[in-house]
């Protein structure tokens, strides 16, 4: 049984900071499709159209019949552990710091055999396991075999924790504590065992319903933060920047305007919060988080951006908002690239319409702040990098992949 994670002691201040290292990052283009599926929490392998073989490792042609007609499809991770071993030495800095490591070979029920990390609770070979694909600290997919049924404290396994960001014992900044979503996330994080949840409050003269009740939770602390003000962001980073393990950027400005409805002022304000706000946060909080990517048992590990499914394809009735979120999406990909070397996972959340006061005229289904908060906590626990929460987001994401152009037209009259 995995020993439960205990609250880590504060860092010994006279020891050098443990610097983040990265497992091997290079993948073939074919293998990156494994990463693409794992980014959404799916385990996919190549299936051959012609002979039906499921193959691993990924290649550009079928290893059985040489057909290049290969399709990536979700596959069950159920299989048999046929051998296991313990690695005691590695020349890779990342693995060197983490040996001894359990590794094994699993023959999937679907066919192929895989070299995998082994969860500590897996019985010795031969035994049944389930294999999952997860993003590791390099941001690339690796395979890990878990015991066939959940075990106590299963998520506290050290190797699994390298691939996830369970909020337990983490110190977390939620950048907007005034919105119903920010408040729902703060509550969900407290329920998930977060040590501290700082909630940012901009323009304190505009009182926000629910904020006073939220502050009654002992883990929640209100901090001044206006992402449109460089000084405010830097001032807060100066106080808590060296403590934040997970940053959840919920600061959002959303007005339901088409691009021709108004002048540029509202659009500019949306860009200032949704795009430049993220940029200011990345400048002020990014460096310290990167430095703390391996600090302790609870290192800095994740950065969550609230985007919108309309960042992928614009919703003309909310045109300026879509454009600002598209800009934020492009920026978040850069933040992800910058954070990669430190093992900080950048999680992008693409909800459809949230059930809030700026979507009053949008018909249901709309995503409740509570449901979105749960999806974000689940993404952290599962190590997922791209989240499409709710029916609308799932539907649009599917249609986007089928045909971007068709979706563009379909969104015209919504």
């Amino acid at each position: 049984m995995t020993p439960p994670l205990i609250r880590p002691k504060p860092r010994n201040p006279i020891r050098a900071l443990r610097l983040p290292t990265s497992p091997p990052v290079v993948r073939s283009r074919a293998a990156l499709r494994l990463t693409a599926a794992a980014a959404e929490g799916r385990f996919e392998l190549q299936h051959c159209f012609k002979c039906g073989t499921v193959q691993y490792p990924p290649r550009s042609a079928c290893g059985t019949c040489l057909s290049h007609r290969l399709e990536w499809r979700e596959v069950s991770g159920a299989g048999e552990l046929i051998s296991d071993t313990v690695l005691h030495h590695s020349n890779e800095l990342y693995y060197r710091e983490r040996v001894p490591l359990r590794l094994g070979t699993v023959r999937l029920d679907a066919g192929p055999s895989l070299l995998v990390h082994l969860h500590g609770d897996c019985a010795a070979a031969p035994s049944r396991v389930r294999v999952r694909a997860h993003l590791d600290k390099s941001g690339q997919a690796v395979l890990i075999a878990l015991p066939p049924q959940d075990t106590a404290n299963m998520t506290d396994d050290p190797m699994l924790r390298e691939m996830t960001s369970d909020p337990k014992f983490h110190k977390i900044l939620v950048t907007d504590g005034k919105s119903p979503l920010g408040q729902a996330i703060a509550k969900a994080l407290v329920d998930a065992g977060a040590d501290i949840v700082w909630v940012g409050v901009a323009e304190p003269w505009k009182d926000a319903p629910g904020l006073a009740a939220l502050e009654k939770l002992s883990q929640v602390e209100r901090v001044p933060l206006d992402v449109t003000d460089e000084k405010s962001v830097r001032d807060l980073a100066g106080v808590i920047g060296g403590k934040v393990d997970i940053l959840i950027n919920t600061a959002e400005l959303h007005r339901a305007h088409g691009v021709a409805d108004r002048g540029t002022e509202t659009a500019r304000a949306e860009m200032d919060v949704n795009y430049f706000g993220l940029l200011r946060l990345a400048h002020a909080f990014g460096p310290a988080m990167r430095a703390r990517g391996a600090e302790s048992a609870v290192p800095a590990s994740a950065w969550v951006n609230l985007l919108s499914i309309y960042a992928l394809s614009a919703l003309p009735s909310h045109g300026t908002f879509s454009a600002a979120k598209a800009a934020a999406f492009a920026l978040s990909q850069n933040v992800r690239a910058d954070m990669r070397g430190a093992g900080i996972r950048v999680v992008n959340v693409f909800p459809g319409p949230i059930d809030d006061e700026w979507n009053q005229l949008v018909p249901p289904p709309k995503l409740s702040p509570d449901a979105l908060a749960k999806a974000i906590v689940a993404a952290l626990r599962d190590g997922v990098e791209d989240v499409y929460p709710g029916d609308v987001a799932q539907d649009i994401w599917t249609r986007f992949r089928e045909s971007q152009k068709a979706l563009e037209r379909e969104l015209w009259d919504q």
């Binding site: 003269w205 405010s232 509202t266 500019r268």
Partner: protein
Amino acid sequence: MSAALLNELAGALAADSVRVVDLSQTLSPRFPQIVLPPEFGQCAPFRLEEISRYDERGPGWYWNNLSFGEHTGTHFDAPVHWITGRDLPDNTTESLPPQSLIAPACVIDCTAEAARDADFLLTAEHVRAWEGRHGKIPAGAWVLMCTDWSKRTDPVAYQNFDETGQHTPGPDANAVRLLVERDVLGFGTETIGTDAGQAAHFRPPYPCHTFMHGAGRYGLQCLANLDLLPPTGSIVIAAPLKLLRGSGSPVRALALTAGI
């Protein structure tokens, strides 16, 4: 005569027998900006972002880029700001007659009333009572409402919002009508607007903006240090930036008062 007067003034300033009082709040992101219901366009808050600070972006110099709405911090309202003043001549910041930017001030002390009641309204009766003590308000003078509101350094207390909106003192409609009759230069306050916090519900709404700007008169708001001015006898220097077709601008408002 005039040259001698200016020489005398320069001497008096150097000797501190004419003192300069700073009537301005510091422009900072911390100082709140006016809030409109969210369906309206909003005044951009004051922001200052570094271009360089003796670093790789500029090794020998420090400077910033600024952004803000016209009606931010201690600021000046030109007549064109309100729909009632939109067709008047010389109603924009660049066309205001420069001699109107330096004018005597009448300061009406409402500090006790404003301390008791955040929604205190200055009435025509209050104005007449002040005139009874200090003489008739001269044409071309600023009338400044002293409430000590500028001493509320906490932005929440300064804005003073509850679920019914803002609660800050200001003039009522008849007071403004009387001041327009006196042909004043304009009306100034320590609060975030020349009108009271609840003025959206007055008849007419926003009487100070409506009547003052409709008569080509000006406004000053977010003033500070009005308690250091005498009821009469000071001179206010408040010049907005010379913005083309500007409706107002932040100002460094100063007053000259007799020293000791």
